[in-house]
Symmetry: C2
Subunit: 143 residues, 2 copies
């Protein structure tokens, strides 16, 4: 079961400037930052609200760290904007398997490590009406 909008992933050219835009314009503060070498991104998580499944919803601001990362290629084609959306679940493995069995392409054979120690996978946007869709189990939900 998918129980929340976990985050909205937003690709940007300059993470520091984009963080400052969200702080100055809306008052959103940085909750967490990290570099994900596998994904080739530097990111900032801005916590927007708590959710009734015990989790939270974030904006995830993403700046590529290398030219050959998927986010760098996406930015070169699309410019800045919403890159993906993510739904939270207590069981990313089970959800990914169930969704794969419905004929939707799941991009990873097994979930990988995402923000803040989460486990994540992605669904192919062409199978999801144009929306790159992530499934995420937060570190606190892993047993």
């Amino acid at each position: 079961m998918l129980t929340r909008i976990d985050h909205i992933g937003i690709a940007c050219f300059d993470l520091d400037k984009t963080v400052e835009f969200y702080r100055a314009t809306y008052g959103f503060e940085v909750f967490h930052t990290e570099v994900n070498e596998e994904q080739g991104v530097r990111e900032a998580m801005l916590r927007i609200n708590g959710t009734d499944d015990g989790g939270a919803s974030y904006l995830q601001l993403l700046e590529p760290t290398r030219e050959d990362s998927t986010v760098a290629k996406w930015l070169a084609k699309n410019g800045e904007g919403v890159h993906h959306i993510a739904f939270g679940t207590a069981d990313v493995d089970g959800e990914a398997e169930a969704i794969r069995n419905k004929g939707v392409r799941v991009l990873y054979d097994e979930p990988r490590t995402g923000s803040m120690g989460s486990r994540i996978t992605f669904l192919h946007p062409k199978d999801c009406h144009g929306v790159l869709t992530e499934l995420v189990t937060s570190a606190s939900s892993q047993h």
Copy 2:
């Protein structure tokens, strides 16, 4: 103050097919449907989770009802995908004014009617790092 991710607006060519995709793939059910003649869209709201400000987060699926609507033009250029994101606030008028005073272009002089009797306005995506951004005060928050 912006207190939640209110919704993610997703543009699609065929609302019924897209609703069915979200139901069959994730189990998300339609919470509300309506036609907004002013915006030129037919829409379905899928409620994903409650939020700790007393509101909720939705997916808003949007199908244009006429060729000259902004969503129709957006689809013709971009194809299906995430069209905008929306933050919830108890005071869309005050927030819009404060944000306008920071130099961000607000697209309406006064907020207009959005989904489910809400009051909404939009911020220019070029002033928001490529993200068309909506501010929304839900009907239940209006005094």
